[in-house]
């Protein structure tokens, strides 16, 4: 037991910071943290957690994408989000419905596959997603 308090950030490795800023800031609509430290390390606020978008090649290690669907990003309506991103020219995967939630994958310019996600069913204890 080490007393983990929270997740300070999730590191999102990318290959081109300008392309990534367009994707996370303009297309996904995440808020840029004004305290972002560097040109090769840009932080976005995704509601409850910070995404640190950074380039491994300027931090002395090799780029490796996150495994598919590592980050499940909540949207109000997956079909509407998919349509908007497709309008912006992105290739969004097929929309699926698990019986509890809907999802669709979309890749950032570096190849990190983000999951657009919306759970509509209550949890087993009857509560709804926060």
């Amino acid at each position: 037991m080490i007393g983990v308090e929270r997740v300070d950030y999730v590191r999102v490795p990318v290959t081109d910071i300008e392309e990534a800023k367009h994707f996370y800031g303009e297309l996904l609509g995440l808020r840029l943290d004004p305290n972002s430290p560097h040109d090769d390390w840009v932080e976005y606020e995704a509601g409850n957690v910070t995404l640190a978008v950074m380039t491994p090649h300027t931090h002395d290690y090799e780029f490796e994408a996150l495994p598919p669907a590592t980050i499940a990003l909540r949207v109000a309506d997956v079909a509407a989000a998919k349509a908007k991103l497709e309008e912006a020219g992105l290739d969004v995967g097929e929309l699926w419905d698990s019986g509890k939630c809907r999802g669709a994958g979309v890749s950032d310019p570096a190849g990190n596959r983000i999951l657009l996600h919306h759970r509509y069913a209550p949890y087993p204890d009857g509560s709804s997603p926060r």
Binding site: M1, I2, G3, V4, E5, R6, V7, D8, Y9, V10, R11, P13, E26, L27, L28, G29, L30, P34, N35, P37, A46, G47, N48, V49, L51, A52, P56, Y61, E64, A65, L66, P67, P68, A69, T70, I71, A72, L73, R74, V75, A76, A80, A81, K84, L85, L116, H117, R119, Y123, P124, D125, S127, P129
Partner: protein, 129 residues
């Protein structure tokens, strides 16, 4: 622009869910979400949920999270590292001090990249973590 509201979960890939449960629940001491099921297990890391997923069960190849993907805040990185090392966790390199924070990176039993982190300096605008 779509309006992303929050991160519902971060998926942590594993080849052995029982082993991963022991690591996240006992070694790291995270709370298991009581709404977890036999096929979908979640741990709460304060502000965000970590979901232990077995990609091979879904017919997908296993690939671990890259270097330091999930950065866990602790009060004292040195102390937390010592406790984890005592529990047999291997760290990658020395604990660093960047001038604004301390950090130490390690991997879970599946090789997923994690980091212990504590920022002690205020942000450029004067606010604190």
């Amino acid at each position: 622009m779509i309006q992303a509201r929050r991160v519902d979960f971060i998926a942590v890939p594993t080849k052995d869910r029982d082993r991963a449960e022991r690591f996240y629940g006992e070694t790291l001491g995270l709370e298991r979400n009581p709404n977890s099921t036999d096929t979908w297990v979640e741990y709460e890391a304060g502000n965000v949920t970590l979901a232990l997923v077995d990609p091979e069960q879904a017919g997908q190849p296993f690939a671990p999270l890259p270097f330091a993907a999930i950065v866990l805040r602790v009060d004292d990185v040195h102390e937390a590292r010592a406790k984890l090392e005592e529990a047999g966790v291997e760290f990658l390199g020395n604990t660093f001090d960047s001038g604004v924070c301390n950090g130490a990176s390690f991997t879970d039993p599946d090789g997923n990249g994690l980091m212990l982190h504590h920022r002690y300096a205020p942000y450029p605008d004067g606010s604190l973590p």
